[in-house]
């Protein structure tokens, strides 16, 4: 998909003034230092990987020493660590929490369930890897990975953040893929793969009850328009009964997250 970038202005007015670029670079370095050393983690822990995630925050490995603090609400966090098996019922909630996190945000898929679904990948209720729903920056293989591996993943994420903020191109993290995993490719194509239709992303965001930024991001240039604004709001209201019937159970926990 070709994106028309001719009208984009990369020249910030500050950089045209003499001397200011030096100051801006210094300030930017300071901000990068701050951003890489305050990666607050939202622990999307659903199974045994969550135990290792807790151990990473404990005294032996001590992720706190590089500013990686685990927070209970997505609104204060920069990194979502998806630690564990994500089921079909959980996936809309994960996507909703992901959409509640402020930009810039990153995602770490911790453990083989979050990467591919592992040996649950063919089961009716398990989604085959979280990268079919939200974009993953760092994959940490293991079942479960030990705290040192998660720490290495966090350091790799720091390097990636440093590179991106410094204007370098950060290569996409290689998804560990074995022969057996290629044989059982998921029916839902992964994000950024060529086969993925933007309608899947839209359907997922609708399922999560969230038409945030993500709805427009993955659309091809020649794709038909989603809907007129009036119709879109109609679509949301007609969706509402199914969402509330499902959301009736989840809304208290959502409120807790918002209040925390």
């Amino acid at each position: 998909m070709a994106v028309d970038e001719s009208d984009r202005n990369y020249e910030h007015p500050l950089y045209s003034m003499p001397g200011l670029s030096v100051a801006a670079t210094s300030v930017d370095k300071l901000l990068t230092w701050g951003a890489t050393n305050s990666l607050w983690v939202f622990a999307m822990a659903t199974s045994c990987c969550g135990i290792e995630l807790m151990a990473t925050a404990a005294s032996r490995v001590d992720a706190d020493r590089m500013g990686t603090i685990i927070r209970g609400t997505p609104r204060q966090c920069d990194v979502m660590v998806v630690a564990g098996t994500i089921t079909v019922k959980m996936a809309p909630r994960v996507l909703k929490l992901w959409e509640q996190m402020p930009e810039p945000k990153w995602c770490i898929a911790m453990g083989s369930c979050a990467i591919s679904g592992d040996f649950y990948r063919d089961i009716y209720s398990v989604i085959p890897g979280i990268d079919t729903a939200i974009p993953v920056d760092v994959y940490i293989p293991g079942c479960p990975p030990n705290p040192e591996q998660l720490m290495a993943g966090l350091i790799r994420l720091q390097e990636k953040v440093r590179a991106v903020r410094g204007g370098e191109w950060a290569p996409k993290d290689e998804r560990p893929e074995t022969e057996a995993m290629q044989k059982t490719a998921p029916s839902i194509p992964r994000l950024l793969s060529a086969e993925r239709s933007p309608d899947v992303t839209l359907a997922q965001l609708l399922g999560a009850g969230n038409l945030g930024l993500g709805g427009a991001l993955n659309r091809a240039a020649d794709a038909p328009p989603l809907a007129a604004p009036q119709e879109t709001s109609d679509a949301i209201t007609t969706q509402a009964p199914t969402e509330t019937s499902e959301g009736a159970v989840e809304s208290p926990s959502e409120d807790e997250h918002a209040d925390a």
């Binding site: 079909v88 019922k89 996936a91 809309p92 063919d122 089961i123 009716y124 209720s125 398990v126 989604i127 085959p128 079919t132 729903a133 998921p186 029916s187 839902i188 899947v200 359907a203 997922q204 399922g207 199914t242 019937s245 499902e246």
Partner: protein, 159 residues
Amino acid sequence: MPTPEEFRALLEDDFGVSEWSEKQPPLIEAVDHHRLAEVLKERGYTLYVFVVASHRPGVEGAEDALTAAGYIELATGLRSPTENSQLAIWRVRVGLDEQLATLVDLFAGADWQEREQFDLVGVRFAGHPDPRRLMLPEDWEGHPLRRDYAINTPHPPWR
């Protein structure tokens, strides 16, 4: 009353059970399901422990109509917490399109357990106060623990 001998005597006298197996709990008629639970509750089995359902697919050429069409077999267990903690288990067989009387009016703890069996195996409990799915999303189609349910059934847009 709760001793295994008295439980056996009750089933033989009042519920027409004649076949006994060492490996399987007694099988009673589905219409007697609620009455047996009521009688047992009066006699001290006041703790609802479990209900487990399993789907038996239809067998072609079987003489029994239920076996030919396929059925769901449920095992229910009650415990007597006061009298030496005896466990009473019985089985019932329900056709795939039949309903079974709920036990929620006797035991409040049966609520979610019966919802789980409805969700995964598809037993319809007549008179259940809240007959929704418990584990799977509400828009789910089918009951995954039935033998004819394909394990890798897709569920767009998530899997």
